[in-house]
């Protein structure tokens, strides 16, 4: 018998890639995050064989909770078939043996970069959002030690001020994606750079959302059925992106989040951003049997929970002149 016979082969990795210590630590931190909704829990964040900043936080969360009976869907900007999503999916499948799917309704874990699927998530489904910057206070306070103090004291005055400044300067809120929310009436939270269209889907959601930043080493969570409110004023409201008037060039559908595809010579085409959902619409149109889940926004653009979103018309016309 030689030493080589006794040693593990070098290409041997633990189940789910992470070693047992890392896995246990992550699961404990996730539990803490669930117990304190919206609070950023620091964690050690191991290096993974994927570039830092490319979803390593989401990947660690997924790898630490996935088991052989899970079915995983991975999307990047709504697409299952983008190279980055494909790469993460094949890594997770390679390391855990999970089944993969592009169908939101069949997945037990959905790891996503910057989108929430159009079909409503259910109880016992897990949404893992990749987070580049967990700190919603970053642009008012770049120093993370000071930002932590502000969170501890729920001192969000600078955020309200910056919201007001937007109104004064531009006549409206100009935050694009990553629109900050208040979770359970306590912590200000970045929902990750999901478009505003997706922000209300986190409110009183049936599913659990884990948000994990690998590079910044913070993870946080929104447990099922938790209040998640975008910051807004009593008389000037948060608005989602305007999708009215946009028709999906592939499916003819409306009132879903659309990718804008510039056309040579000017103008744009639109296509549904959620490729798994779009694929099902196309198959249904062909007469194939598919199960399409209920969506967050209906065919005329109404959000499924009444009273969460305000119609754009509700903005008072004098709500902001923005020319001075």
């Amino acid at each position: 018998m030689s030493l080589a016979d006794l040693a593990h082969p070098r290409y041997d990795y633990s189940y789910g890639f992470l070693d047992e210590h890392a896995r246990r630590e992550l699961r404990r931190r996730i539990l803490k995050a669930i117990a304190i909704p919206g609070y950023q829990v620091p964690y050690a964040s191991r290096e993974l064989p994927i570039a830092r900043g490319w979803g390593t936080g989401g990947l660690q969360a997924t790898l630490s909770v996935a088991g052989p009976h899970d079915t995983i869907k991975v999307i990047d900007q709504g697409a299952d078939d983008s190279v980055n999503a494909a790469n993460l999916r094949r890594f997770i499948a390679r390391m855990t043996g999970v089944a993969t799917t592009t169908d939101t309704t069949l997945a037990t874990i959905i790891q996503s970069r910057h989108r929430v699927p159009e079909e409503r998530l259910r109880e016992r489904q897990l949404l893992v959002l990749q987070v580049p910057d967990p700190e919603p206070l970053r642009h008012v306070q770049p120093d993370s030690s000071k930002a932590r103090e502000m969170h501890a004291e729920a001192d969000y005055a600078q955020m309200w001020l910056s919201l007001y400044e937007q109104l004064v300067r531009f006549g409206r809120f100009v935050q694009g994606a990553s629109y900050p929310v208040v979770v359970h009436g306590r912590y200000l939270m970045s929902p990750s750079p999901i478009p505003r269209w997706d922000t209300p889907t986190l409110h009183q959601a049936a599913h659990l959302t884990i948000l994990a930043a690998g590079r910044e080493k913070r993870l946080y969570a929104v447990p099922p059925y938790t209040e998640v409110r975008p910051i807004e004023f009593d008389d000037v409201f948060f608005q989602v992106e305007r999708m009215a008037g946009r028709v999906c060039a592939v499916s003819g559908a409306r009132h879903k989040f659309m990718d804008e595809l510039p056309v040579a010579g000017g103008g744009s085409l639109f296509r549904i951003s959620d490729t798994g959902y779009l694929e099902k619409l196309v198959r249904a149109a062909r007469g194939e049997p598919v199960t399409i889940g209920p969506t967050y926004y209906d065919a005329v653009g109404r959000f499924y929970q009444p009273g969460v979103l305000h119609e754009p018309d509700a903005v008072p016309p004098e709500g902001g002149t923005g020319h001075d």
Partner: protein, 371 residues
Amino acid sequence: MAYVAARGGEAAIQYAEQLHQALNGPLTAERVQLIAQLLPYLVDRVMGEGSLYAPELAALALAQTGGDLYEAVLLLRAYRSTQPRLAYAEPVAQDQIYTVRRISAAFKAIPGGQILGPTLDYSHRLLRLDLLDGAGAAGRVQPVTGSDQRVADTEHAAAADPAQATALDPSLPAVADWQRAMGLLEPLPDTPPPDPATLPDLTREPLSFPAPRAHRLQSLARADTGGTLALGYASMRGYGLVHPTVNELRLGYADVVLRHPITGASFSAGRVRVSQCEVVDTQVSSLRLGYTATLGWNEVKVIAGAMLDLEMDAPTPHPAHREEFVLYHTEAVEASGFCIHYKLPHYVTFQSGLDALRGVRDQGGEVPGDR
């Protein structure tokens, strides 16, 4: 838009990887060995930033990435994160390092002597074009001349002789020890060094601020060389408060001393190349030290790191005077990873921003971004 919207993303990934490999030539065990033998400083840098001392694996990482440093460091770190921590080595004392190079800019001569050791510091940076023309005998070193005062002044002048350049002397005292004995520096505490197993471990715990001393030194040890240099240079050149002196710069080999789990006996599990730098600042009433050490021989990093260590807590509002700024932004894997993530599609977030911009335009307001 082929890279985002094309069907068959997995096939695209495989072809892209194959193309990369085809351009870089075949990956063979011989190539890896050649890299380990011929490019020791490059291997050292990858090991230092990868925080894993494994020359063979570092050379493999370099071969696999065609020499892309950040990719190689990431490969090593990702491998490292799968490895369990088996044991803790005993602390390495400066006078136990098998020193091959040790210089002090603070004193002309120091106890134990200045040892120039293996360095290109005083060589002429001339490309050996004659080699390309077929001349043999690569790397001939000029004989030592009498003008080399720093070396000639010391009892170890002979160490500059290339024949003895790797002489291992494990009994060179630290310059700081003399300064302590002279009352110029605070004495070391009487307590024995803490059990290494109780030290905060950056690879197992997140960094938070103010960082424990151990985290700061660990963070500097694996910091990006270029990033450390950029911030350190900013401090040295014009934004620093002090003008420190290199108290001691030391390259050598350190024994990795472990304690046998059953017998309790100490034994060396092997030697690693280490470099360390201590800079000293003369203040009105006392001296202050800044320190950085790393695996492998990397002088630029340990000098810049030691300068940063000295100034990271300065009260002035320069970025290099904030621990958080320095440690976060010199993290090689995180900085490079985030930088290249901008290659990923951002069309959803961009669309969201466009929507806000168009909304402002539609109502005739100032366009965001003019801020």
